[in-house]
Symmetry: D2
Subunit: 343 residues, 4 copies
């Protein structure tokens, strides 16, 4: 209990989830809790599920309030996090749940976000090859997007093993509503969402597309082209990603399974399910776990990988805390061992 | 009100939906209502939403009870419908909501269903090129599967116009729980389904795969290879299909849009939405309408088409009634003009 | 098809439901469709489920645009409807889905709504004793609130038969989110609503409380005191009301059942279910039907009545169209025979 | 980590939740995991959300397999738990999540459960007056029913303070589907449950009625009469209870609030919310917390108390672990500090 942590953006879903996880993290003391429009309120008013922190007062998000902590989590709109981070001392561990420092390619950043590129930070998806080395002792960490987390967990083993063709990946993901945040938009109303599904960002326009291509490119050692379609599902949390790629000629089902088994056998949070069992977002709800399964469709020449995560936990706050643990030299699973909340 | 209709399988979801639509169809008189294990019950016990038919007694499904009607709807497990149909006179219009007579390829039937092929009937998806000619005066009609309905509506215009490549179609669909019927399986319990998503039949094993390939092959004039992944979404009704295919080199966004516009401009039940608006399953809930939108992802070289239908209405019972109307020479939209029930 | 109808408030849920029902009403021609902030848009943009009306342009809500129709539906915020109604000629049938003209007691109006009382119109719940007489040839109709519709259908037979005590009625209702309208409030977001329930307006503060007391008072012939608690349920539509009252001493279960049977045996839209079957909001979804069941809890000395309606249909737009039919001398069920959309 | 625990009924929802909580309980080592029909399976097959226990093999539920543990949790059908418990040594702490040992009144047991009364054990709702004394060092504990937990938390303070009249309590509760367990019944299918609500056990027939009356009677020091109506809501978890009682003449709103404040100010898991904030089941989802709020309806002469719990956590497994902690002399909150999983 000797690491002090500040959390900004505490009134949003990502910030709330960071606080939920940290509230039972045994090595952490929660310091400043900051937000913007709700500054001055009791946390219990805006995050009534955070019982042990209900009486804490939300402070304004600014460098002064965030100062003096060992770790600062930024759960802010893109643009804002880069600005705040620039004012924090280099020895503070800054973990950005936003998009500002995920992309290496300044052009891609500009094309999809329309602003100046703020630079690239170590990428907080520890299960990627080599990622833990970059995170160890890092003082700046970019938390991956929720869709990219699921997509990269799904396909990286195949690309890393050289079994997949990079030119025609197709990914369709279904996300719960919390992925869209707390913005008051009519299509996010309960009346509109309950009982129905719809797509958005179709045709490659979703901002997570370049991030998925970047991450798969790392594994493939070559550019990867992705057709990515996100859809909005009638649930609060969870991402179910269906990711398919053409296999390289001659690849067998056994080779495919072995590649994923090898990649994840020792991973504490990623489970390749036994044959015959399929991922379900409810099985990982509220947890830092990811479930995967794959099938080789020989007829179509494609591997199909299904990956289920909780978009707010493994997809955001859980991945952030996992990366914090690595950066601080704590056991990686500290504070993250909770099971999925099912049914 | 002079066409007499019998409905078998009346205790299931498909049979219930046929009855719901027929109960307000102005040209139809509902005769025998049959089922198996619930025979002898009041319909109101097993289908409490069918208020105007609540007092009707369910009879046993057999040729004698189905005899003497102008039209017989079969909403039975596959295998059963072929058996019953064989005992009905040729002049009766038999509309099979099951799978028995959809596939032309006896080998594909055997591979996916494991039984003897029962022969092929005219395919009840009027929006396919040439389909109405085959349905006019038909006395046997095979109602398409719910997933194939959405997939064929999504991609047929592009194949028919020669703009799509047949060798690498990828389709991911999300379906409401009613698509799985009333079978008492633990993964279909409300506790398990609400708030979560999961895939099934991954890797090309779903029985609708050959039906989608068959239908797209008709449009392409050549074999089409499809990677199809169905997923189960936390809603009672609705299918949201994301269908993508590689475009032929040189194809423009304008050509693509024109192909779909041309195909559907005069269709009463299929709407290509204005640019910027995306399909939503709630917009078609309980209705015979389909909503489509497409985007050309030039970067990935793929067109992505989104299609929303109600799996029980346009995907089953509505398509069946629409086909009945055509076969009987009634105006095609008779009894099917109801809007989606939203929000 | 010779009655011309204008619908104001067409961008909201109540207005949308009026349009949905009218779009298949055989005696009605839909004229002006008006709203405020969405004036100028295609209806299909804001109500994408109303397929047959998608191309219609929304006009501004004002007396000029509403003029020249036989019937005008007002689905406006309270206050606004009284203002618009005052400018419409007396021979036009004006049906107000808002609250302005429901209450007889100007004090109660002032206490719960804080503004000037605009006067009382015939109450559009035809199933109440004597209601049809008041509605026949009426040219102003106040559509009941959705909760009062369910509560009055639940308890009126018992009060009318003198079997219930007026001093201690307790009603708890669960409503779908559409009852709260399209207002952009954070507690109505899908993320917040899906998978959870919460109460609101507890302790008698909900504006429907005096309306329920007024209606039960009509049946009891004496003031009735009601404790009413509304709750918000994770569904888009539907109200499930649990209404209980103390029975008068000596009352038997048979007398109770007979009172409800007598009241509803001839009603086209209200079903007292057979013993052993309980109402379900899904059984009436999208329909004008109400389902009821009652139980006599002798131990507690209370009758418990359960009533399920669709808040937007029987609870608002369906009741409005039913009342219109009566006022215009049409068969009461015209355009309202559609079954519930289940599952 | 030196207390060994066995969990029977591990394939059901209650057993799964016990395991979920114990898997992160710092003082507990999970020994035998037993069930009946799934004995021999990996736990991961039937409870795929319990990641850290996925590889454990389920054993048959019998005294031999349960022997040798410090604590045995029984999550079995009523009847079965009494039978198993009778074969466990007296020094083992046996915690029964079933109904067998909750009721003091053998007649009430017989009337509602139809079998022989198995005797009464200390009641595991620590927040009741005097309950902790009975639980300290207990070796047999009856876990309360989920509805009674919410109802007793709601009304006990008022009865204990003498502010409520015992003759006319009305309680209406909405429960998520998991309260009905994993039984394969058609009305529990996702298709039937999603998007709708229905009541059951109306008229005082639900088995939790005598348990609620018993518990309120303890607080009132006199028999309490309750009209209890449970309803099934479209969510997996959660109970929202609306409980109302007539206040004794002369009681003020301040006295009421003070009674509840006094009762719960020091309780670690029960929160009386600040005025203006209402309970929500999502705020306590997956947690051992209960949220309450009350309102005095002076017009109706009733206090209305709203209480939200998670039926599987505070309503079953969380309450069970909390009681275990007390019985074993551990800090009461050990292993139970997790927040609600929201949104």
């Amino acid at each position: 209990m000797n690491i002090s942590v500040a959390v900004s953006g505490a009134s949003g879903y990502a910030g709330g989830e960071v606080l939920r996880l940290l509230s039972t993290h045994p090595e952490v003391r929660i310091g400043a809790i900051t937000a913007h429009s709700s500054a001055g309120s009791r946390l219990g008013e805006v995050q009534p599920h955070l019982h042990s922190l209900a009486g804490r007062i939300i402070e304004e998000t600014n460098p002064a309030n965030l100062a003096g902590h060992d770790v600062v989590f930024l759960a802010l709109p893109h643009g804002a996090s880069a600005e705040v981070a620039a004012q924090l001392p280099p020895e503070v561990l800054v973990i950005d749940a936003g998009a500002d420092h995920r992309l290496e390619d300044a052009d891609a950043w500009h094309r999809f976000y329309g602003s100046e590129h703020a630079g690239t930070w170590p990428y907080g998806l520890p299960e990627l090859p080599g990622a833990r080395d970059a995170l160890r002792n890092a003082r700046r960490i970019a938390v991956p997007g929720c869709y990219p987390t699921s997509a990269l967990l799904a396909l990286t083993p195949g690309f890393a093993a050289g079994l997949l063709q990079p030119d025609d990946v197709v990914i369709v993901s279904a996300s719960g509503a919390s992925g869209a945040g707390k913005a008051l938009k009519s299509h996010l109303l309960g009346s509109e969402m309950m009982g129905g599904m719809s797509p958005y960002g179709v045709g490659g326009s979703h901002r997570h597309t370049p991030e998925v291509e970047q991450g798969l490119g790392w594994a493939a050692g070559a550019p990867v082209t992705v057709s990515f379609t996100p859809t909005l599902a009638p649930m609060s949390r969870g991402i179910l990603t269906t990711a398919t790629a053409r296999v390289t000629p001659g690849t067998t089902a056994e080779q495919l399974r072995e590649a994923w088994e090898t990649a994840y056998d020792d991973e504490p949070f990623v489970t390749l399910l036994p044959l015959g069992q399929w991922p379900a977002t409810k099985s990982v709800l509220g947890s830092n776990f990811a479930q995967l399964q794959l099938a080789f469709d020989e007829h179509a020449g494609r591997v199909v990988v299904s990956c289920a995560i909780d978009n707010l936990t493994k997809g955001t706050a859980g991945g952030a805390v996992q990366s914090m643990n690595i950066a601080l030299g704590l056991p990686e699973i500290t504070g993250l061992t909770g099971s999925g909340v099912a049914p």
